[in-house]
């Protein structure tokens, strides 16, 4: 999953550095991602993983690092899986 997240960040986050140089815990905003770019990242993640980020997850911290995005997706996909 982290590889797909990194690919989406590389395409949509408009980072000032190569995403390959970032650790899973690196601060994506410090790496150049704007709040508007984070919306594109969210929409791309929703398309890739077939989930929808609920309003409560529309927080800066959720999109602050690869690890925090992964945690949010884990929660959303486990809920989706349990519902099936």
């Amino acid at each position: 999953m982290n590889d797909k997240i990194r690919a989406i960040l590389g395409e949509h986050a408009r980072l000032a550095v190569d995403v390959a140089q970032l650790s899973d815990e690196s601060d994506l905003y410090e790496a150049g991602m704007t709040s508007h770019a984070s919306v594109n990242v969210m929409l791309a993640l929703e398309g890739e993983f077939d989930v929808e980020f609920p309003d409560r997850m529309l927080r800066r911290g959720v999109f602050g690092s690869i690890a925090s995005i992964r945690a949010a997706l884990d929660e959303l996909t486990s809920v989706a899986g349990a519902a099936q």
Binding site: R14, T34, H36, V39, N40, L43, D55, R56, L58, R59
Partner: protein, 132 residues
């Protein structure tokens, strides 16, 4: 009683709005903007003006979140709306989680100013607070 103010500022590259429209289309619009904001922006004849109007509105939403100190509260962008009066003046209208955040933090008023120049849109929001 007046107890202070906080300021939020945000800058948006209009080009990023054009990219979002191209890549995500209506899904992007519906997640970020209210029906009135979309109607106003799309009423412009040329794509560049549409993107500028949306960029100014996105900047206003972000500036409002900063002024409200609410970027970690889970507030959807649609809960902060830029509304236009007949005379062309603009203001912010809050709903849902944004309105709740304003009430919980004793925000008494939000003042908005937006501008754009070239490919940049800028918004400033000043929030006044009163002692509960």
């Amino acid at each position: 009683m007046f107890s202070g103010l906080t300021i939020g500022l945000d800058v948006v590259d209009v080009g990023t709005i054009e990219e979002s429209l191209e890549r995500f289309g209506g899904r992007y619009l519906d997640r970020v903007y209210t029906p009135r904001e979309i109607a106003y922006a799309l009423a412009a004849n040329d794509p560049a003006t549409r993107a500028r109007r949306l960029a100014a509105r996105f900047a206003a939403k972000e500036a409002a979140l900063k002024a409200l100190c609410a970027r970690e509260r889970g507030i959807p962008p649609r809960a902060i709306e830029v509304v236009r009066s007949d005379d062309g003046s603009i203001a912010l209208e809050l709903s849902g989680a944004a309105l709740a955040a304003a009430r919980e933090t004793s925000a008494a008023s939000l003042s908005l100013s937006v501008s754009h120049e070239g490919k940049l849109a800028v918004a400033v929001v000043i929030c006044t607070r009163v002692k509960p």
